[in-house]
Symmetry: C2
Subunit: 429 residues, 2 copies
């Protein structure tokens, strides 16, 4: 009775193969719940011979993506190949030929999202990308639809599961960064080339997408400043824990009268903050606005199964629109907004220094901070003699001022070294 909707795949890796399995072997359950008859018409992969852990009916696999993109029986293209090229041009071609596209590709959306969304609008088709951020957590749809009437002021959270897994193990077991990374690679939790994750690039792409939707202003991935977790050592975390903090790689997007700032960096959060207890590959995103106050979305941030569920939700939405005889245009609209340099945003800082325990040391250090207009929130000193450790938390100040102060501190005779500088995020005044 129901009309068939043809679906084509670009890619069949971790997410794609789960989704192929569900669409081919669990189509009855999907039909029962949604009334939709989704039929897989083709699956474009690089290597047709590769074992994907599922039996794919003969004739569906092809190594020519154009066979999927140009197939007139395909109404919805699912792009799960990743990367910018050739994914970008294939998505564009699919949209231009009137196919709806569902993608899980954060890098592509952060890089060419504006162009692709415009192409979708011109062609009168949908481009949906719930799976691009937060894995199985519904966050794109709530931001772009449920909260479309809210003036969102900030989006903040943990959006990269690999780094959160690494940081969790470093903190809880005291294992060194290199060892955890090697183990994570062995277990398949981290890529052979982990740069995108540990360098903050993956989180930056996601932050760009979230910021663009939240603020209605296009923020390209390249506009997001980022610092990764590569330089972090467990000794930094021990100091942080003494003061009641734990490290997280946070994506922070803020819209204020001074403009929009989007950044990704390791950040210390208070141990009693909800983000502190987000462990392993779990993601968590806070969305704030004057009317809604604060919303929190938590769930599995990666993995084939949860991400496939997010893609499938978009496919079902697309299919329902297709059956209704149209695609809803203007789902997302970007006004012009000012982007600001995130290094000008004020935040608290924790500095760990090795100092000489002599009368007047603290006064000298305080004077340096005072000269650079950085005010001190708390100080904690451990040890005596020439190798005392000084932990110091500042009030909120911009990165520039802090680094000028730190440079001058390093030059003081009583300061042997500024061992580490970390940002601190808390809600306290």
């Amino acid at each position: 009775m129901s009309m068939q909707i043809g679906v084509g795949f670009l890619g069949a890796g971790t997410v794609g193969s789960v989704l192929v399995r569900r669409l081919i072997y669990e189509s009855d359950a999907i039909a029962a719940k949604t009334g939709l008859d989704l039929v897989v018409r083709g699956i474009a992969v690089r290597d047709r011979a590769k074992d994907r852990g599922i039996v794919i009916p003969p004739g569906l696999l092809t190594d020519r993506p154009s066979e999927v993109v140009d197939d007139p029986t395909v109404q919805i293209v699912i792009e799960v190949m990743g990367g910018l090229d050739p994914a970008g041009d294939l998505v564009l071609r699919a949209l231009e030929s009137g196919k709806a596209v569902v993608t899980a590709n954060k890098e592509l959306m952060a890089s060419r999202g504006r162009e692709l969304l415009a192409a979708a609008e011109t062609a009168g088709v949908s481009l949906l990308f719930e799976a691009a951020v937060g894995g199985g957590i519904p966050i794109i749809r709530p931001l772009s639809e449920s909260l479309a009437g809210e003036r969102i002021t900030s989006v903040l959270g943990i959006v990269n599961g690999t780094t959160n897994y690494i940081l969790t193990r470093m903190v809880e077991e005291g294992v060194a960064y290199e060892d955890v990374l090697a183990e994570a690679q062995e277990l398949g939790y981290a890529e052979a080339d982990p740069t995108a994750d540990v360098g903050g690039g993956d989180a930056a792409s996601k932050a760009a997408i979230l910021a663009s939707l939240a603020f209605g202003t296009w923020v390209g991935g390249s506009r997001v400043t980022r610092e990764g977790i590569e330089g972090l050592g467990t000794e930094d975390f021990e100091s942080a824990r003494r003061l009641g903090y734990t490290p997280k790689l946070l994506a922070i997007a803020e819209d204020s009268s001074e403009g929009i700032a989007v950044r990704v960096h390791p950040t210390l959060v208070p141990l009693d903050h909800p983000l502190a207890s987000v462990r392993g590959a779990t993601n968590a995103v806070f969305v704030s606005g004057p009317s809604i106050g604060e919303l929190l979305f938590t769930g599995p941030g990666a993995g084939g199964e949860p991400t496939a569920t997010a893609v499938l939700g978009d496919v079902i939405t697309s299919a329902r629109e297709r059956l209704a005889g149209t695609q809803v245009k203007s789902r997302i609209r970007f006004a012009s907004g000012r982007l600001r340099d995130p290094s000008g945003v004020s935040i608290k800082w924790l500095l760990r220094m090795t100092v000489m325990d002599r009368p007047g040391v603290l006064a000298q250090i305080a004077a340096v901070f005072g000269r650079h207009e950085v005010s001190i929130k708390s100080v904690w000193q451990d040890g005596r003699g020439d190798e005392a450790t000084l932990l110091l938390v500042t009030h909120e100040s911009p990165e520039g001022d802090l680094h000028l102060a730190a440079d001058e501190l390093a030059g003081l005779e009583v300061v042997s070294a500024v061992d580490s500088i970390m940002r601190v995020y808390d809600d306290e005044p």
Copy 2:
């Protein structure tokens, strides 16, 4: 350049007046973000003279709802009057005349939702109700769209802000139920007639809606078993805290091979469970399924501003669909599913008893539980002589067995009284 979309209100109370204010006085911001020109055409209220804290342009207010429902320039009707009657028939009439409807009315959706959704589908228009559950938290849309491809197994959470506020204050300050309720009523946090909140009816309506969407099976509000918080005393909470639990009014909807069970009741949760730290009027909902694992949505569960944001999101979605020339039908589809009696669902129990501290007491008590196939997880005794307090936590067992055991316990010579019986929800085996 953009086409006007006419909006009409049924009701202008707490939520409605906030939304009227935003649509009339903040329409530029909405247009900038969404490209939509939403125009308020009429506002039907019971008392036109009532002060609503906003200046409403003359001519918009009417005390005849039909003027809104039958206005040909109104494309979207916003129902925020609440209650079943006349709201239900007005919504139905609006749908049948081809208007999209956005409602915040949980009671109506839990009672007549299936009929109204069918009417919307027949008429080819949308009926959206994000604000009916969870106030400002996007939960309806994620369940019905983002998670449409997931076989959801349970939805569980805190969905009534008033009772959570009362329980939080009782636990944290040791204030008696009656006193907190009276104060909450004075502050406007509780209604003059608090029955729907404290009796669990409001939470039951929300649980019915969540269950229907999550499981794709219609669960009417009357099918939800409920217990309220009226009978609870602070002394129960002190016993619970000793064992590491805190009380919450939980809505629990589960789909298993035995059928769907939906219930609302006071429940003890472990102090380190995320729900334990959900305070005041905040709502929190867990959604679980085999692929997504566990998702958590947290945010403001009530209040004019957050709820108005949820309604506005639906209005914007409706308007976008309208501009696209259609309304997406078949958004929600209900298959037949078996409902089961929630009293058959097994759960842990905490019993507080006054017992005589004599040799062999525990053996007698344990024998009673054994006879009713209720196994004991832990026991804690305080005091000596004839007035000792015994706290006992069982393993999971059905309500029927537990109550048979409790009745027999109360008849034992060594048991002076079974003082309280509370359900315990935790994930431990």
